[in-house]
Point group: C2
Amino acid sequence: MATTETEFLRDYDPAKFERPSVTVDLVLMTVSGRTLRALTIHRDSHPAAGKWALPGAFVGIDESLDAAAKRILKDRAHIASAYLEQLYTFGDVHRDPRMRIITVVYFALLPEARFENLRTQSADRCLAKIEVDGTADRIKLFDGDGAALKVAFDHADILALAVERLRGKLDYSDIAFALLPTEFTLRQLQEVHEAIRGTQLNKPAFRRRMLDKKILKATGRFESGAAFRPAELYTFVPEKNR
Amino acid sequence: MATTETEFLRDYDPAKFERPSVTVDLVLMTVSGRTLRALTIHRDSHPAAGKWALPGAFVGIDESLDAAAKRILKDRAHIASAYLEQLYTFGDVHRDPRMRIITVVYFALLPEARFENLRTQSADRCLAKIEVDGTADRIKLFDGDGAALKVAFDHADILALAVERLRGKLDYSDIAFALLPTEFTLRQLQEVHEAIRGTQLNKPAFRRRMLDKKILKATGRFESGAAFRPAELYTFVPEKNR
DNA sequence: CGAATAGTGTCTGTTAGACACTATTAA
DNA sequence: TTAATAGTGTCTAACAGACACTATTCG
């Protein structure tokens, strides 16, 4: 194998070479009604001042990537637990203008109600509405008033990939249930699917498909406060309990 | 936001904190007949001496992750180009006993014939046969003589995840064609699918499904050297040419 | 001609979309 | 009663597995 001396040294003793910094960034997503939302934080200082960024932090030397993601969830979003999954690692050389930063991105899913604890009202953080441009390789963010938000760094690419991943996993995984409370109606489940896919679904076909999977258990209880006929509440049955 | 002083400093000036090393590792896969194979390299020195590991290298400070993957492909496997895709990032604290190393894993797919250039005969590298234990969360490696190979570090987990990813993408992506030469028979295509899935497929149903997708073009040419009736050769038509 | 594989036609069961229908609740 | 949504029954088209069949090539 022909390796140059530089390569040999780098492989032999990497401590002699400058190391990139490593961060974990979090795409914290939820569904409200038929819209997909993600937590973004306003940047007050340069670089990318005035733009909105995903929460993140540097990875500790004695901290696994999963642990770093949990820490960010807790410290930056004040959320004790959520469905967490690694999404992708972004490592372009100039993705951050300050220095070389490689970021391992996780996404976290949780039901809308779990955001109560979070001060989304405070001006510097926002559960931004995600709008997908057609074929899903481009997204736009909007705040509660419908104003477009500028996205910092490569975080728009990250959000687009997160939506793509959700779409891909929707049919064969349990991610939809991570976005719903313990008890939910079939209409709520359908709304989650529609929010992620960005299209409408046929009601009878959707109900049949979900019920045929045998992953739902009817509780016998019904939603309350509905203007009209209340729907039955279901719970999700994880595979291990089937 | 309540952050400790340590956290504040780490976020403010990460240069003051020790950084993990970052490597890129490569799962270089191919299919021969109905078996899935991956390139592994014998470790002569500690740690994990005598075990087999995936090719990898540290990421340069001015090198993107994709570029690092291409460099490893070229320098470590002497292969000019291949289908490359990021798989996952492994970052457990003690995954390497020497020091904290986070590794971004890519997989590379190429047809068996493209391995001609590579000296697989040399004793320190091996196109190991991958055998999947039942539900695909555990794998075993074997050399050409059928002897079991011990796998270094967490590389068995990495290989298992690579197989899982291939299985997940088989039906909706074009990965199978990255494992075949430009012209191939429908039987060869079916063998690739069977190698990845680990199950047999029904021939007429498979042919119909493939031809109905309109992603194959019949060349009018036929394989040669076959013992019996030669099959027609097809080429893959990428989406942009349809 | 015989062996072996290439390639086809057809039956059947499953599933998804479409759509019309009944059921139940609050006002 | 009315408005609005919950939930069901049924028709149809698409598709996959199974299996038997014909076709073609080499020796």
